[in-house]
């Protein structure tokens, strides 16, 4: 292996391994502060620069938490499967980190790369993204099963059911963009949206973006879909038996997965790195990309502070009876609109209005049909 190749690989990967974990540390602070504000508390405000009285709004909290996690005792339950208990957090973190390289993030130092080693230049980058994200489910199962704890296993099973269900609307809403661009290549998808032709500005693109975002929330176990880690029902779900640094790895993996899936949403619907000033200063592209990711993360935090958790039956009904039919209809609409494209502004406006109306009414009807009815409870197995 030549030195140039190794150097190029390092240039392409090391920034991802530095930027996203630091963003994670910052996000935990933002989340604690924002949730505290929503709940009329103050949040962390003491930890700042060590050995001084400078507190910096509690910005030192992530570092203090990290050090605390490192020094905590690592407890493994007696009946646990020691190998899988150790492997689960690693298997959770690696795919999350791996998919980051499928995001078309154009860093300013990318121009020093001579061999095109970036993974987002692959022909099937988007399908690789979905394939590797799916491995996360296995890590959740591993953790739940290896802990030999009822609550962990229940949380793990809930997580698998939820992730498998919501992966379908997630992929189907991404299919629209792939269909309209005619490529699975992330760089192609980014360049197809140049000139502020973002897919979120079309009716089907908007619907697909909303479906994608909701499914992404469920896929990353974020509130209101955080049933696998429902504290009040399952203690903490699949990572109940994890402490210390293994717990920190789970935590990190979860947030990196959030960044990755937000990054995919930005790539597919929000014009990737496009923004004011990119034409003159190309380095701004990466800044805009990260800023858009952070905007989506903030939206997730806001939702967490606002919405209560769903019930299991509501969760499943919502995925299979609402999101799935709606996203299939959306694909049909997008295909139809693609065939009717480029026939004057009036025709285009009519197509847009018609598809918006169809989407709206379908959503209303499906909403009425898919809500679980309040019936007297029937016990299947406990009679």
């Amino acid at each position: 292996m030549s030195w140039e190749l190794i150097r190029d690989i390092l240039i392409a990967t090391v920034p991802l391994l530095v930027i996203f974990p630091s963003l994670f540390a910052f996000t935990t602070w933002v989340e604690r502060k924002a949730l505290a504000r929503i709940q009329n508390r103050i949040g962390p405000n003491k930890t700042g620069v060590p050995c001084t009285r400078i507190s910096l709004f509690g910005l030192g909290q992530p570092a203090a938490d990290g050090i605390k996690m490192l020094f905590k005792e690592d407890i493994v339950p007696r009946g646990a499967d020691r190998l899988f208990h150790l492997l689960a957090p690693i298997v959770a973190l690696i795919p999350a980190m791996l998919v980051l390289c499928f995001l078309p993030l154009e860093f300013p130092w990318a121009k020093y790369i001579q061999v095109p080693v970036q993974a987002f230049l692959l022909d099937g980058a988007v399908i690789f993204f979905f394939a590797i994200t799916g491995i996360n489910t296995l890590a959740v199962f591993m953790a739940g099963w290896a802990s030999r704890n009822k609550y962990s296993l229940l949380g793990g099973m809930r997580a698998i059911a939820q992730m498998v269900s919501y992966e379908i609307p997630l992929v189907l809403s991404a299919v629209i963009v792939v269909m309209l661009v005619g490529s699975l290549n992330a760089a192609d998808i980014a360049s197809a949206q140049e000139g502020y032709q973002w897919f979120v500005f079309t009716p089907w693109g908007l619907a697909a973006f909303v479906i994608f975002f909701i499914a992404a929330l469920a896929e990353t176990n974020r509130s209101p879909f955080d049933l696998p880690e429902a504290e009040s029902e399952l203690i903490a779900g699949y990572f109940t038996e994890y402490s210390g640094f293994k717990f920190a790895l789970f935590f990190l993996g979860e947030y990196i997965a959030m960044f990755a899936i937000s990054g995919l949403a930005v790539t597919l619907f929000l014009g990737a790195g496009e923004g004011p000033g990119v034409a003159t200063v190309p380095a701004l592209s990466a800044v805009w990309f990260l800023a858009k990711i952070f905007a989506l993360i903030s939206l997730m935090i806001w939702l967490r502070g606002t919405l209560p958790r769903l019930r299991v039956d509501q969760l499943m009904a919502f995925a299979w009876k609402f999101l799935l039919p709606l996203s299939i209809l959306n694909i049909l609409l997008a295909g139809l609109a693609w065939h009717l494209r480029g026939q004057g502004t009036v025709a285009q406006a009519a197509t847009w209005a018609a598809s918006l109306l169809i989407l709206y009414f379908t959503a209303r009807v499906l909403d009425g049909l898919s809500r679980p009815q309040a019936r007297p409870r029937q016990y299947k197995y406990a009679e």
Binding site: M1, F84, D123, G124, I127, A131, I132, G134, L138, I160
Partner: protein, 170 residues
């Protein structure tokens, strides 16, 4: 040289994964070893420049089949315990039968096809694959889709049938 090293690493991982999957008494460990084998296979596909096949391998086998196997194990009672026999009584006959099927499937095409002396240039892109699927092989694709739909409906019908019978028995 790099590719050769990668090939050897992936092959060793694949063979070890497959062996552990067959020999492991703990079923969940066995499933994960099988998944390791699938992952190594995806790596081998990637080495052959078949990116789409590699991605599909990860998506279908690790993402879907693996989860399905785990669900099946979780929903079946008393299969996770230690000390289960891993060889059934008729293993010799089974092995012979499977080798016979493999030979019957492989031999005729092997004897009929003349392998080209030089490698043919192929276009490994996703676009070429899609055009092939949509143009010459579209009927095959549709028949496969129909078959899968039928299997899906059949599975639902079977599951509902047993549930109803149980309800009637009560």
């Amino acid at each position: 040289m790099n590719q050769e090293t990668a090939f050897w690493i992936l092959s060793v991982v694949a063979v070890l994964g497959a062996l552990v999957a067959v020999r492991q008494r703990n079923l969940v460990h066995g499933v994960f070893a099988l998944l390791l084998f699938f992952a190594a296979l995806a790596g081998l596909f990637l080495l052959l420049m078949a990116e789409f096949i590699a991605a599909a391998q990860v998506l279908v086998y690790i993402g879907a089949v693996g989860i399905l196997l785990l669900f099946a194990i979780m929903l079946t009672e008393r299969v996770t315990g230690e000390g289960k026999r891993i060889f059934s009584r008729g293993w010799l006959g089974g092995a012979l039968a499977s080798f016979a099927v493999l030979g019957a499937l492989l031999l005729p095409p092997l004897r009929a096809t003349v392998l080209p002396a030089h490698a043919q240039p192929v276009d490994p892109s996703v676009r070429a694959l899609g055009e092939q699927l949509m143009n010459p092989y579209v009927v095959t694709l549709e028949v496969l889709a129909l078959l899968l739909t039928a299997a899906l409906i059949g599975a639902v019908a079977t599951a509902q049938g047993t549930a109803k019978r149980k309800g009637a028995a009560k």
